[in-house]
């Protein structure tokens, strides 16, 4: 299977409650919490499209789209 290529990584800031689950369990440490405690994809170039952030987000705020 070919490696998935990231098309977009969207975080709904108004749904995110800043629990930090996505930040902690991202295997590539792509995400971090900003100054208002909302998740942001700070190092998107490292994303391997594993979708673990999307699957584990308790607020259903993350959407990973691949090509």
């Amino acid at each position: 299977m070919a490696k998935p290529i990231l098309k977009s990584h969207r975080i709904k800031a108004d749904w995110c409650k800043g629990c930090g689950i996505c930040v902690e369990f991202c295997p590539k440490k792509v995400l971090e919490l900003d100054e208002s405690d909302r998740a942001v994809a700070a190092r998107l170039q490292d994303c391997i499209c594993c979708r673990l952030c999307e699957l584990r987000c308790p607020d259903l705020a993350i959407e990973v789209e691949t090509e």
């Binding site: 409650k17 629990c19 689950i21 699957l55 584990r56 987000c57 308790p58 259903l60 993350i62």
Partner: protein
């Protein structure tokens, strides 16, 4: 997101606390439905009372938000009148096994085709953190400030003894198992129980010094193991994850169809 089409997005962000495991269960359950390719009209979600029961408000299926512990009784009614529909009943640990304990064992005994999801956070979250029959000994709760002395139920063993024909357990850390097990449970013809250990950082975590939601999920990773693993033999305290029971037995609404046929025969 693929699952957004199943959500009543006007009610988001949802009311659960930051890091609450119930959102992860909702997330996994919707993925299971999406993978099955089911339409919204084929699913009826019935819930009782509690944080967990609020899940039915967020999904765009046929939904019933009923009374405490009685979700399975309402679901039994729906299934008997419309056996072609798929019944999914998410319940908290108290809702399923304290207030609804009787309905739970009898639904299992009848082997009625309902998928029961026990969202086990070991506490009554909504009412302020009282201990539940799943809390277990040495757990601190608002109603057990010096620790609970009640032993807890084992959901898997209880379901097995009561006659459920599909029984699985996983945690919110093991997200891929959530949708896999719920998918198989919905496909299973008979009473299916999926227990999901889900963190309540606000009440259970804080009182029992288990840290944040992240810490509680790491704990789920560390205290569970696949069924029959070598780690379990070495450390019997580990909680097993996986599918414990999967068997075919006569299903209740199908058996009832036979009675209808017998009664209406000329």
């Amino acid at each position: 997101m693929a699952v957004n089409k199943y959500l009543r997005q006007r009610f988001f962000p949802h009311l659960w606390c930051p890091g609450c495991g119930h959102g992860i269960v909702l997330n996994g359950m919707l993925r299971a439905v999406d993978k099955l390719g089911m339409s919204k009209n084929e699913i009826v979600m019935v819930s009782g009372i509690g944080c967990s029961a609020r899940i039915s408000g967020y999904v765009d299926f046929h939904t019933l938000h009923t009374i405490h512990g009685r979700a399975l009784a309402f679901a039994t009614g729906v299934k008997m009148s419309r056996p072609e529909l798929n019944l999914v009943v998410p319940m908290g640990d108290g809702d399923a096994l304290a207030i609804g304990g009787n309905h739970f064992i009898h639904a299992a005994r009848r082997n009625i085709d309902i998928t029961a999801i026990v969202m086990n956070n070991r506490i009554y979250g909504m009412t302020g953190g009282q201990y539940s029959p799943l809390s277990g000994q040495e757990v601190v709760a608002t109603t057990a400030p010096f620790a609970s002395i009640d032993p807890s139920f084992d959901v898997v063993e209880l379901s097995k003894a009561a006659g459920a024909t599909f029984i699985a357990r996983t945690t919110t850390y093991h997200v891929k198992q959530i949708d896999d097990f719920i998918k198989q449970a919905i496909l299973h013809e008979g009473f299916a129980v999926v227990e999901i250990l889900t963190q309540c950082p606000t009440h259970f975590g804080r009182k029992n010094k288990q840290g944040s939601a992240v810490d509680m999920m790491k704990l789920y990773r560390d205290i569970t193991t696949p069924i029959g693993s070598k780690a379990k033999q070495e450390n019997p305290n580990l909680i097993e994850r996986g599918i414990f029971v999967q068997e075919e037995k006569p299903e209740y609404s199908r058996e009832y169809d036979k009675i209808i046929e017998r009664a209406t025969r000329g």
